[in-house]
Assembly symmetry: C2
Homo-oligomer: 283 residues x 2
C-alpha cells in the first residue's frame, strides 16, 4: 500500500505545466517517501518535524534566513553549490545567509572595516580569465563579519550598515585591493531551531575565519566563494562544510614600509594576495 501511495502522489503531478517542476516534485516525493519508509517515524516524531520546520520558517526575518542556515548545516547548500560550480576557474563555496543587503560601491583601496575593530590587513590580487588574461572592470562583491564575528545586519545598533562590505571594480589591469580587519572564526546563529539541532547533535556552530566574494566579469561565469584565513581554528570542522583547500590563504605578516604607505596601513601589516580566475566557458 505504501508504494501505491507514493505512485499516487507522483501520478497526481501529471498535469504540471512546467516539466522541470514536475521532475523536481516527483523526485522529491520519491526520496521523501523513501526516507519515511526507511525510518518509520512515529506520529510524535512527525509532529516534532512539523514544529521544527514551522519554527525555522518563523525565525526568518528580513535580516535572518534560518532555512538557508538549515540547508547549510545539512551540507545541502554546499552540495548544490558544488553541482553548479564551474570546474575550471577558482573553486566556489557557499553563499551563506548574510548576502542579504547590497554592498556599498567603494573605491579600490577603501577600508571596509568602518569601525576599526580588528587587526588591519590588506587583501589584493587580480581577476583573470582562464588563460591568464586580466579582466579589467571585473566586479568584486565582498562581505565579512567584524573582528567579533558578527555581520553588520546582525548588529544594526552597533555596526553601521555596510560595515565589512564593499563592491569593488577591478582596475585596467584586473587588479583589486582593499583594506579590512583580519576576520575571526564565528558561530552561526545558535538562538534558533538550527542552533537547537546543532546542540542536539553535539556539533559546534563555528565557521573558520573567512571573507566572502562574488566575482563577475562580462562574458565569464561568476564565482561565489570565500577565502579562508590559513591557521584559523575550525578549518577542519566548518559547521557548514564549506572549506576547500584551494581557498585557504595566508594572511602573511608583511614588513614593507613603502607598501604599507602605498596601501595606507601601519607597517608591519597582514596581507592576503590571491587571484580569482573566471571561466569564459558559459556566460
Amino acid at each position: 500500500m505504501t508504494t501505491d501511495l507514493t505512485e499516487a502522489v507522483v501520478d497526481s503531478l501529471k498535469d504540471t505545466t512546467d516539466p522541470r517542476l514536475r521532475e523536481l516534485l516527483a523526485s522529491l516525493t520519491r526520496h521523501l517517501h523513501a526516507f519515511v519508509r526507511e525510518t518509520e517515524p512515529t506520529m510524535a516524531e512527525w509532529e516534532r518535524a512539523i514544529d521544527f520546520l514551522t519554527a525555522t520558517g518563523q525565525t526568518c526575518t528580513d535580516t535572518r534566513q534560518e532555512f538557508v542556515l538549515l540547508s547549510d548545516v545539512l551540507g545541502v547548500s554546499m552540495l548544490v553549490e558544488t553541482i553548479n560550480a564551474d570546474e575550471h576557474g577558482t573553486d566556489s563555496t557557499v553563499l551563506g545567509p548574510f548576502h542579504m543587503t547590497e554592498s556599498p560601491v567603494r573605491e579600490l583601496g577603501a577600508d571596509i572595516d568602518l569601525v576599526g575593530g580588528g587587526e588591519p590587513c590588506v587583501v589584493s590580487g587580480r581577476v583573470l580569465s582562464l588563460d591568464g588574461t586580466p579582466l579589467p572592470g571585473a566586479l568584486l562583491d565582498v562581505w565579512q563579519a567584524n573582528a567579533e564575528g558578527f555581520y553588520d545586519v546582525q548588529q544594526p545598533e552597533v555596526q553601521p550598515a555596510g560595515n565589512g562590505r564593499g563592491l569593488f571594480t577591478a582596475d585596467a589591469e584586473g587588479r583589486f585591493w582593499f583594506r579590512t580587519c583580519v576576520p575571526s572564526p564565528y558561530p552561526i546563529p545558535t538562538d534558533g531551531p538550527v542552533g537547537d539541532l546543532l546542540k542536539a547533535t553535539g556539533r559546534h556552530p563555528y565557521r573558520p575565519a573567512h571573507i566572502h566574494f562574488i566575482a563577475s566579469a562580462a562574458g565569464h561565469v561568476p564565482v561565489t566563494t570565500h577565502i579562508f584565513v590559513a591557521g584559523s581554528e575550525h578549518l577542519d570542522s566548518d559547521a557548514v562544510f564549506a572549506v576547500k583547500e584551494s581557498l585557504v590563504q595566508d594572511f602573511a605578516e608583511t614588513d614593507d614600509p613603502s607598501l604599507a604607505r602605498e596601501f595606507g596601513v601601519p607597517n608591519p601589516f597582514r596581507h592576503a594576495r590571491f587571484d580569482l580566475v573566471l571561466n569564459p566557458g558559459r556566460s
Copy 2:
C-alpha cells in the same frame, strides 16, 4: 566529492546523544542529498525552494498549519499515518491540520451543528474491542467542517468556537450517537504556498465530504480516522490521499418517525451507522 560531502555530514552527527535522532538525521541527510544529486537543482531553483519553505513557515498561525498541509498534499502525512496504523482495528487516516482546538465535551445526542447550516443527519454506532466486546466509556473526539466547507477556526467571525466539534463518551454498551449536518466536500486552504503548489501542478484542492474521529478507550490503541460520505465528489482524487474504501459510509435517507423522534430530528433524516473497532494489542 559530493559523496564525500554526504558522508562528512553523516559523520558530523556521531556525537548525537539520542541514537534515534542520529538515525533520523543520517537517513534524512542521505535521502536529501540523493534528491539533490539526482535533480541537480540550479542556484535559482534552490533559492526558490528556500523561499517556498520560508513562506510555508510564515503562513502558519495559531489556527493554520501550512506545513501539515504541505505534508498532506505530498502524501507524507498519509504515509506516516499508515506506517503507524494498527492493522487490526478500524482503518486510520490522516489527522489533518484542523485538530487544533479542544473539542467541547458534549452529551450523547447533542447537535454539533450549532448554526443549523446544512442537511441534518444522525451519526451513530458503537466502539468495540477487536473481539466485538463493547467499550463503555470510550472517548470519541469528533470534528468536521460546516456545510459550506469551513472549520470553526477558519471563520471565527461567522462560526461560534466549537461548531462542528464534540467530545463524546460512549454509553455503558459502547454506543454513541450525535446530530450534525451532512458535511460537504471542501477545498483545503489555497491562499498560501501550498495552494500555489497545487495550482502549479494542475491539482484541485478538494477533499471529499468527511467527518473526523479520534476514538480511544482504556487498554486499547487509539485510532485517528474519518468517515467519508458515500457518493461524495472527489472520493477518487482526495487532495491529501486519505481515502480508504473501508471508511466510506452511507449517509442513508431514513424514513422512521419513531427513530427521528428518539434522535430529536425531523423525519425523514439522513443516518450514518458504523462501528469503531479498537485493538487491545498495544496500549
